[in-house]
Amino acid sequence: EKILSSSGRGALPLSSPSGASGQDKDPHSSVLTTTAGCSSICSPSPSPAYPPESAGLSLPSCSQAAGRSGTPAVLITITGYMKIKKPDAMVATGVLSSVQNFLRKCLIAVLSYGPMPNHIAFIMDGNRRYAKFRSIQQGAGHRVGFSTLISSLLYCYEMGVKYITVYAFSIDNFKRDPGEVESLMQLMEEKINGLLENRSVIDEINCKINIWGDLDLLCEPVRLAAQKLMASTAGNTGLVFSVCMPYNSTSEIVNAVNEICAERREMLQREHAGNWDGHDANNSVHSEISVADLDRHMYSAGCPDPDIVIRTSGETRLSNFLLWQTTFSHLQNPDTLWPDFSFRNLVCAILQYQRAYPYLEQNRKLAKKQL
């Protein structure tokens, strides 16, 4: 079978991802070439399993894509090593990818017989370790992580998961090396702007994007881009994708407490203006603060609690992520690093959740009766 490398004739122009799937190219050969733009998200076109693309870096995407499609990885990896600045080309056979699609849809249909989670939260850990193992630059690990994020998002959408939350950046991460923080911020700005410009993915899945966190801590361009993205997708009614950046659950709770206190103060001031029974009003107001009040002031107001929290790279801690909301979530910590997180890992996660579901559901119902 013919194999086209990234330097071969199969390379198509960078322009648009949606026009790039070359299914109609050559019916006689068993080779299918698809390309995607450098800085764009992979297109949710009907043919391929959502291949990850990394922005402008040939090596990881080629070796990953090759691993996925099963074509000889060696040739493509070698080409990748030569760092050819052509568009990323992924090679797969047409038959293979349609079989993959069909199998995936079957698997999803089988899984749907059991209880499916409504909200999955990811702690995307392991990008730097991935970069270290593959001896590439650290920033590249984060880029590959981003493409894994988009492909996981699309897999979840296919499975019918309505809410997805990811832990992109913690307030504690500001304590890291300023160079690394700077590169992360640049990456985020680039990706947010990329999403703003190229809306095919968002529109396809009718995605509403929220950005949770203390946005004042971000630098100006990132904050503006984030606010613009939120505003432009505010009206969408499909999948809800929440990015926690920069986020700490403890600061979210403190923020909620601040808002409640300010709200109560205003209420009291209005009451004072009405009648002078100040002391009694004090007591009655404070005993009324309830869990529902705090829920209302959290960043996640309106979203249901996560059903599953997946932390990749095997660490078993929450690291200040959604502490208030994950009381009855099933915590999972697979050993795979985040850039290696694939459809298979997601299926395993959902199977584990389905196994624990009866007990989780019972405890959730009991708790609701109490609080």
Partner: protein, 306 residues
């Protein structure tokens, strides 16, 4: 003869393995604060065909063992999640006769009535058992330098338990080797809520002392129930949950932000020295970064803060 030799060899191997395990746990890097969610008493009793009450009694003995071991190994604070606010809602006390499932669905009002009686009976039994636990061990705690704290919603605790708890806290006030925190009628959400109410009260009472905008993490952390042991060790380093459930269930919500979680399939009454050692050695094998790049960087950041 041969079997005897084999048995001796086996026990020698076992003892050596235990000694190696004990040596493998480094005393200088033990967690300062360990929190335990003792889950699985009912399942333990069910598996042995005994009453749930026996399961809870066995659980009590496991708690006593864990306290003793923690003190011997130099752990500073041990928190045990004895009774959750959510436990008030559990439907069935005794193992159901007709099914083995965890969640029997009451199909008529008579079963509901029986369930509620069972539930109340179990809660009363548990409260009496906790009181007995405190009372029986008080002398030992007073002698061995263990200081007792009881945290939780006092309005839900029976009056006799409250008075026993206050008495025990008074008696052990001067001890400082091990702080034992019993979380009775406690939940993480309740803890944060009561801290929030306290702060709201302060904001309104002394109008110039505290403004809503001044409330920060340190202030809120100081109002939480676990701050009785001081803010430095209030957050657990390691949380152990038995019986295979991979959830936090509203335990130490705020304080568990950076805790290492350890889940084990052992049921709580079976949790002994080996399991505890395994949990500790697993803790020592982990690299705690607190958001920075490496553990050493985390340490240097912490030193700069101090």
């Amino acid at each position: 003869m041969l079997s005897r030799i084999l048995w001796m060899l086996w026990s020698l191997l076992f003892v050596t393995a235990r000694r190696t395990q004990l040596r493998a746990v480094r005393p200088e890097s033990l967690p300062r604060h360990v929190a335990v969610v003792p889950d699985g008493n009912r399942r333990w009793a069910q598996a042995r065909g005994r009453l749930t009450a026996d399961g809870h009694d066995a659980g009590c003995r496991a708690v006593e063992l864990t306290v003793r071991l923690s003190r011997e190994w130099g752990i500073r604070v041990l928190t045990v999640f004895v009774f959750s606010l959510e436990n008030f809602g559990r439907p069935k006390a005794w193992p159901p006769l007709h099914s083995l499932s965890h969640s029997p669905s009451p199909d008529n009002i008579f079963t509901l009535f029986l369930n509620s009686l069972n539930l109340k009976a179990e809660v009363d039994y548990l409260m009496a058992m906790i009181e007995r636990l405190i009372r029986d061990n008080l002398d030992e705690y007073a002698r061995n330098g263990i200081r007792l704290h009881v945290i939780g919603d006092a309005s839900r605790q029976p009056a006799s338990l409250q008075s026993t708890a206050r008495e025990a806290e008074e008696t052990t006030r001067s001890n400082s080797e091990l702080h034992l925190i019993l979380a009775i009628c406690y939940s993480g959400q309740w803890d944060i809520l009561q801290a929030c109410r306290q702060l709201a009260g302060e904001v309104h009472q002394g109008s110039s002392l505290l403004r809503a905008e001044d409330i920060d993490e340190a202030l809120l952390a100081g109002k939480l129930a676990t701050s009785v042991v001081g803010t430095e060790v209030a957050c657990p380093d390691l949380i152990i949950r038995t019986s295979g459930e991979q959830r936090l269930s509203n335990f130490l919500m705020w304080q568990s932000a950076y805790s290492e979680l350890y889940f084990t399939d052992t049921l709580w009454p079976d949790f002994g020295e080996e399991d505890y050692l395994q949990a500790l050695s697993s803790f020592q094998g982990r690299e705690r970064r607190f958001g920075t790049r490496t553990a050493s960087e985390a340490l240097s950041v912490a030193e700069k803060a101090v």
